[in-house]
């Protein structure tokens, strides 16, 4: 049934693709194109086949493919459909974005997940006041790959930071004031963040109302935000961020977050799990630079004191290895099961360690090929010097169609974070169409 769903989805994708030939027409400005309607409907469909070259010696391979110890490759078909619509009346607006993800490979077979990424009602009684109630992403922070100060959002995927994200159910208000002089703008965003059964229940401790807030200034041409989140669901956290253009082609940004009383489950030297409590500090510093020949460089350094250190990761990899061997020899599942629980608690999450360097270089339209952007992205774990290197080419020359071919090549020794990922490499093609 799931396979049928995927075929149906791909057929739909092909059916909505535009006819490329014969796209030429005279340029005119038909005023009916700009007529404002109270409603809007749009969407996005995507097909994304991925080939994974697997590393049978890696810890995360052993954790996922323990029942197929010699598998060399995995071909996976992914599909996505996002539908969105809005309706406006007077000062009110309703907006919803529904996302469906489909996945098929011959290991896990079919997976399907449909959820509202956003669904909220807005009221805008004044230009300077806006009230939102519903499921929404707040998108705090200035970092490109990471946002340690995005207290009320899900973590973004640093391998694909421009992907749409699922929000949380909140109530928030924006108050904006503008001024003349060095302080040009101030805005205040208080947020109510409920966590109950069926409402943000995956966020933290249930049956609580949490409070968050952000204060934004544009001061001496610098964007500055100060934010906090407090409440019983998660430990209290406070942070700030900034962003400023030093010259027209050189921007710097940074974020800092302080979290009180974080809890982390770690393996100790004896191989036992223990919960460590303490403060956590995380920060990010970054820059964006555009050269005279249209090369954009984004460089960011991220530190998270709550991440695992090398020793803690080594104990985890060792536990996986022992569990895998025991399962292969005796069929004993105990060690692997324990490793899987630890993986879910944090060891297998993206960027689980402490220090990372992110470098992305993208060249706009080389050789005057319009809408063609080759890029190279490197995610480097500076604790163990392992890395994920991602070359890609993007073509957006056909209206509403986005084609991206991307590879991911892992480097790093055994016991290093990227060296223990399940793949040696991956190649993916993403064809996305907006309508």
């Amino acid at each position: 049934m799931k396979r049928f769903g995927l075929i149906f989805f791909l057929a739909m994708l092909l059916s909505v693709m535009p006819s490329v030939a014969g796209a030429e027409e005279n340029y005119t400005f038909d005023l009916s194109e700009i007529e404002k309607k109270p409603y809007h409907f749009g969407g996005y469909v995507e097909a994304r086949p991925v080939l994974y070259g697997l590393d049978t010696h890696a810890a995360l391979y052993k954790l996922r493919f323990f029942d197929e110890p010699d598998r060399r490759a995995l071909l996976e078909a992914n599909g996505r459909m996002r539908l969105e619509g809005s309706y406006e009346k007077n000062i009110f607006r309703v907006f919803a974005r529904l996302n469906t993800d489909l996945q098929y490979n011959d290991h896990t077979h079919g997976l399907e997940r449909t959820t509202f990424y956003e669904a909220y009602v807005s009221a805008k009684p004044l230009t300077s006041v806006k009230i939102d109630i519903g499921k929404k992403t707040l998108k705090w922070g200035k970092g490109y790959a990471w946002n340690p100060v995005a207290f009320a959002d899900r973590p973004k995927d640093p391998d694909d930071p421009e992907q749409a994200m699922e929000g949380y159910i909140i109530a928030s208000t924006d108050f904006i004031r503008s001024f003349d002089g060095p302080l040009k703008t101030v805005s205040i965003t208080p947020v109510l963040f409920p966590v109950y059964d069926h409402i943000n229940s995956d966020f933290g401790q249930n049956n609580n109302l949490n409070i968050a807030g952000r204060l934004y200034f544009l001061f001496y041409d610098t964007d500055i935000d100060v934010m906090f989140m407090t409440g019983p669901s998660r430990p209290d956290r406070y942070g700030f961020d900034f962003s400023r253009n030093l010259t027209t082609n050189f921007e710097i940004h940074g974020e800092y977050a302080w979290v009180r009383n974080t809890r982390k489950t770690v393996l100790n030297t004896a191989g036992a799990s223990e919960v460590i409590e303490g403060e956590a500090h995380s920060f990010l510093v970054g820059m964006r630079y555009l050269t005279s020949f249209d090369l954009t460089a984004i460089i960011e350094f991220y530190h998270n004191s709550a991440g695992f250190n090398r020793e803690e990761m080594k104990y985890f990899y060792s536990l996986v290895s022992r569990g895998f061997d025991a399962y292969q020899i005796t069929g004993d599942w105990t060690g692997l099961s324990r490793a899987m629980n630890l993986a879910e608690s944090g060891y297998a999450r993206q960027n689980a360690m402490r220090n990372y360097l992110y470098v992305r270089l993208s060249q706009k339209e080389p050789f005057n090929i319009l809408y063609f952007t080759p890029s190279l992205t490197c995610m480097i774990n500076t604790d163990d010097l392992s890395a994920n290197i991602m070359p890609e080419i993007l073509y957006t020359g056909i209206t509403n169609l986005e084609l991206r071919l991307r590879a991911g090549i892992i480097t790093g020794s055994g016991d290093s974070e990227f060296g223990e990922k399940q793949n040696d490499y991956r190649i993916e093609l993403r064809a996305g169409y907006y309508f």
């Binding site: 400005f29 194109e33 700009i34 992403t137 703008t185 805005s187 954009t296 020359g397």
Partner: protein
Amino acid sequence: MLREKSLIILLLVFMACPAFAADGTKLLREIDRNLSPESYESYRKLINIEPDGKKKEFTLFTVKKGTDKVASVFLAPASEKGRSTLRLGENMWLNIPNVGKPIRITSLQSVVGGVFNNADILQLDYAVEYNVLNVKEESGQYLLQLKAKSKSVAYDQLKIWADKTKRLPTKIECLTEASMLIKTLYFKDVKDFGDGIVRPAVIETDSPLYKGYKSVMIMAKVKKRTFKDEAFTLTFMPNLESLR
């Protein structure tokens, strides 16, 4: 006696120069006001045309207030819808709805690709960014030579050819500090938009850096309108379309 005459001539030249520059500045301000009211709304279509004739079109709603505030939101195509750009003086931001928060962009980048860059799309008054060095008459038109007031301006020099009676530009050459031509803007199809706004409805541009490529900007519904300052803020960027 000769020394006295030379001194007088020199004095007259020195006195004439600032007067000429002042006239040039006045003329440039007139050109700015004729191109658009100080605060207005407009719709624009940008068309990038490739050497083989292939086109890509973008539709934007743009609002401007005073000398240093301008914002745009993309209405089409679907892949760009909802993207918004904001300029406050020399600061520029791009907000992509899916990506989230507004990111700072630079004047020389282009959010649409093609020959128009962000400075062209989020254009402030010329008199805000440039000093007039010189005004000449050439082929029945004014030729104004401008120099950027600071290094942060996208083009170091501009040459503006302007119609003497309408006081509207017909052609603008954008040059680097070393006088290398970056692009040429051609102003065409002067149209009455109502309420005293008479200006070119079409701006074409080409560039020796993009041989064979051309970009076109078509204006529609240019209207005087005032806005609250709060509409030109990062927090308001995701709501720009509500001003339509």
